[in-house]
């Protein structure tokens, strides 16, 4: 791997985004609008917003980056730029790390904006605001890594878009956000326990406390481990030789 090639790839991905201001606007505005909607929805039940607000803030980047990455990577595969790149000295790790870096930057912007809105105007409270923003970025990179891996199984953009409900919605349903995990049927709890978003959600929920306990760090470790694993699996799907 080389820092030059990784950096060049990150800058290239960001340049592609810069030429697409509508996508940037959607990435930044949609989470803000959704957060305001949730706030208004539970106007008379402040407690509900307080318990939903932080996890939502941390999960938006996950969903957004999953979609953006799986489509961008699919395009690299189908337009031939991936095959062309893989005949150059670039390492597959350079390509993946470049993507991770670029989308982490976008996620940081997204998380900062939604945090400013939520903590500033909407009156959301958290014991550890900094930890929430950092987790949001980590979740974005997790979403990116899963999207990269998922893109290997899509042949068309139609299929890639369907992976959002297929890969992401079950994780949101089962992560504990809608129904606490201990109230779920046992088999659902078992499924929930192997889904990475469960740990991302749990870590976010724990930032409400003033001091971060040991369980928080276990959650963070799981999120990081799954990210690394997905990136490794994603790298394995980038083949220099194809049939």
């Amino acid at each position: 791997m080389s820092a030059r090639r990784t950096g060049a790839t990150a800058l290239r991905v960001l340049a592609q985004l810069r030429h697409d201001p509508r996508t940037i606007a959607l990435l930044l505005a949609v989470p803000c609008v959704l957060q305001v909607l949730v706030h208004e929805l539970f106007r008379d039940r402040e407690q509900v917003f307080q318990s939903l607000g932080v996890p939502l803030l941390g999960l938006f980047p996950f969903v957004a980056m999953f979609i953006v990455t799986s489509i961008t990577m699919l395009r690299e595969r189908t337009t031939g730029t991936l095959e062309r790149l893989l005949t150059t000295p670039i390492a597959r790790g350079d390509l993946l790390a470049g993507y991770a870096l670029a989308f982490a930057v976008v996620a940081a912007a997204q998380a900062t904006l939604v945090s400013a809105l939520s903590f500033g105007l909407l009156g959301l409270e958290s014991g550890n605001r900094g930890a929430v923003v950092v987790l949001a970025i980590a979740n974005a990179v997790l979403g990116m890594a899963l999207g990269l891996f998922a893109s290997a199984f899509a042949r068309t953009e139609f299929q890639a878009v369907q992976f959002m409900p297929a890969f992401v919605l079950p994780q949101i349903l089962l992560c504990g956000l809608l129904v606490p995990r201990e109230q779920m049927a046992e088999w659902l709890q078992a499924v929930s326990a192997v889904l990475p978003l469960t740990y991302a959600y749990d870590a976010l929920a724990r930032t409400a406390e003033d001091s971060l306990d040991g369980r928080f760090w276990v959650d963070v470790a799981v999120v990081l481990a799954v990210t690394v694993l997905s990136l490794a699996l994603g790298a394995a799907t980038l083949r220099r030789r194809t049939p």
Binding site: Q16, D20, T79, G80
Partner: protein, 239 residues
Amino acid sequence: MASAIEIRDLRVVRGGREVLHGIDLDVEVGAVTGLLGPSGSGKTTLMRTVVGAQIVAAGDVTVLGLAAGTPALRARVGYQTQAPSVYSDLSVLENLSYFAAILGTGRESVERTIGVVGLTGHERQLAGTLSGGELARISLATALLNEPELLVLDEPTVGLDPVLRRDLWETFHLLAEAGATLLVSSHVMDEADRCDRLLLLREGSLLAAGSPAELRARTGASDLDAAFLGLVDRAGAVS
């Protein structure tokens, strides 16, 4: 004459069908070799094999003394794909600057190749707004950036205006004179005369190899289209 590419009994299977049936050929160093044949004859598959992008069923492919696909070759071989591999949402300059960074060449290499492929003045234009021929030229430019020892160009001159086509062929010969080896595919026979040597491919087999003059002499034909037909007929009579 030394060989830049040596292929022995190459067989490739794609989609359950054998598309290259035991090819043997050599490509000379420092020459422009044309890979000619109709669409579907296996030209792109052969080129993908040379750059190490193709899974092969059998045979040996040696490129610049190393097995095709060896990591050390990636910096020494330039490849222009048939479908332009270009980021349509980046400008001409951004596309080339990215590949220059990957290949480790400087800004002057970007400016030089933009001039070579005749895209001066279009630097800031988004690739997606360019014509098919212009896109192909960006793709060609990415292969020229690091002045590789071997250039594998898959139909680089399709759809270009005659003046630009002539200029590009001149560039190819200048590169060959400077020591580079070029393997250039085309399905247009009138480009054959611009090559030092020719490889005629048909239905996954090598029909003939030699200089344009040799091929004409061998068939007694005055133009290469007729020579090609003569060779096809002869191959048909043998089998």
